[in-house]
Symmetry: C2
Subunit: 265 residues, 2 copies
DNA sequence: CGAAATTTTGATCACGTTCAACTTCAGTGG
DNA sequence: CCACTGAAGTTGAACGTGATCAAAATTTCG
């Protein structure tokens, strides 16, 4: 399962996680190389296997290169709530690795390819290059914001609205890592997964899905979702894309060339 | 409303946010002083006033010293979902300040006393002292974990379970900043606030509250909650306290290479 | 004290769960 | 090639929870 890192620098620079990083920060010289050297292992996990298990200590950060996973919690009564789906570019171990023991499990929904490093190594690098610590803050904040949207979904939106919001969110997130077309994308989730993500029962999710199809808002073939009426969906789900700010760059106190340096952004 | 910072160092060291920091990291010499100098203003906000407004840019971090607030979202249909309640020691502007425009509002539920700094200043300090950036990551990760619990609450728990979980969470969080007794605490929230936090209607929350009282699990007088049967509540709400790890300390005490090299842009 | 906000109680009913059966389809072995 | 199996998707009927609306009771506060 685990293989040697063996990633060339040019492969690495096309990694969807690196793409996400680039949206937050202008990498300094050597940053990407440092990050790549942090990677202790890369692995392909077969679908249905758990990557993280509720209740156990977990001290890694895994960067998803390819495939889909889901962070979830199993309740006493057998119900499952999916907290978030993990897409290429996402980080496994956030927030699990910050807790004494992970509070949630993570399961591979498809075969999934990851690169892993220990949280300690990442932190050690952060002391040398604080931009990595800031990037981690930004990632965690985005995670919190995503959870907040999901909370609104299950707390106060009707099933139709939830589903519309869910589809738009996935589409938007896949788009930022180049894994979605203009108005369609592959969604290799069973209806059970979607139902557990939205806090619905499978039959009701099925009906809701059928409803959106009947209303001409979406179409589904195989596991490809087509957003037919994007504006209608956005209005229905009250979807506003989450746009992260860029991380403010380091400010050099010795401003010998202030006129040049001043950044008009 | 806004006053001069005017906080003495000894007051500052008793600030509940500083208490939370101390649980994550061993502050270095001068750290607390640096943080204090970051504070641009301190203020007391009257209850029912909004601190952050959905849709507007917000670029501050505010550390709550005293009082209660709530992060919430208003939906088109007039419903409100409270995403999280902010207690002493919590940070306003997380994750709002990481987004181009805040996605949520924050309202003061009681009069609330805060100390504010700009996110830019905090980031600038983080480049000098990376432990601040790491602390921010840890705070954001905790926020994400809290949201995850709330998501499980509204998604898959019955109203009784939700309420039990909610009360235990608040108690646990207040305890870590020394604002709760062994098994009781002040909760100055109206039932409408709690209902909006749990995704319930006010009448149903009221009945659920009455149920827990009738079952001898809790008692409420004025706005003080007493947890009579803590273990029963924990079993009911399936509550596991969130325990953050400490941030790994820097390995090599010598400072990182100074920043006089070229701007690797 | 009076007005407004909050809490409590009651009656009704729509929505979404539950449970069950049935269909479709992919994979597998006879 | 077809029968068998199991997983995933679809449909239907019955039930119960929690929302909604309304009004009364109580508390808070100007």
């Amino acid at each position: 399962m685990t293989t040697l890192p063996g990633t060339t620098m040019s492969e690495w620079s096309r990694h969807p996680f690196v793409a996400r990083l680039g949206r937050m920060i202008e990498p300094r010289k050597g940053d990407l190389e440092c990050l790549r050297r942090l990677i202790e292992s890369s692995a392909t996990i077969r679908k249905h296997r758990d990557l993280v298990i509720d209740g156990y200590e977990y001290r890694k950060l895994c960067f998803v290169e390819e495939g889909f996973a889901a962070r979830y919690k199993l309740l006493r009564n057998g119900k499952r709530q999916i907290l978030n789906v993990l897409l290429p570019g996402d980080v496994v171990g956030l927030p699990g690795s910050f807790l004494e023991r992970a509070n949630y499990s993570v399961i591979a929904v498809t075969d999934i390819r990851i690169h892993a490093c220990s949280i300690e190594a990442y932190v050690a690098l952060s002391y040398q290059r604080p931009q990595f610590a800031l990037a981690l803050s930004w990632l965690a904040a985005q995670e919190a914001a995503l959870h907040a949207e999901h909370l609104i979904n299950t707390g106060r939106r009707t099933p139709r609205e939830r589903l519309a919001h869910f589809l738009l969110e996935i589409h938007s997130r896949l788009e930022t890592v180049g894994r979605a077309a203009e108005s369609s994308f592959d969604l290799p989730f069973s209806q059970e997964v979607i139902a557990d993500a939205l806090g619905l029962s499978v039959p009701h999710l099925n009906r809701t899905l059928a409803l959106l199809r009947a209303e001409g808002l979406i179409a589904v073939h195989d596991h490809r979702v087509e957003l037919i009426d994007t504006t209608g969906l956005q209005a229905l789900g009250q979807f506003q894309p989450l746009v992260l700010t860029r991380i403010p760059p380091e400010h050099f106190p010795e401003r010998r060339t202030p006129a040049f340096r001043r950044d008009a952004r």
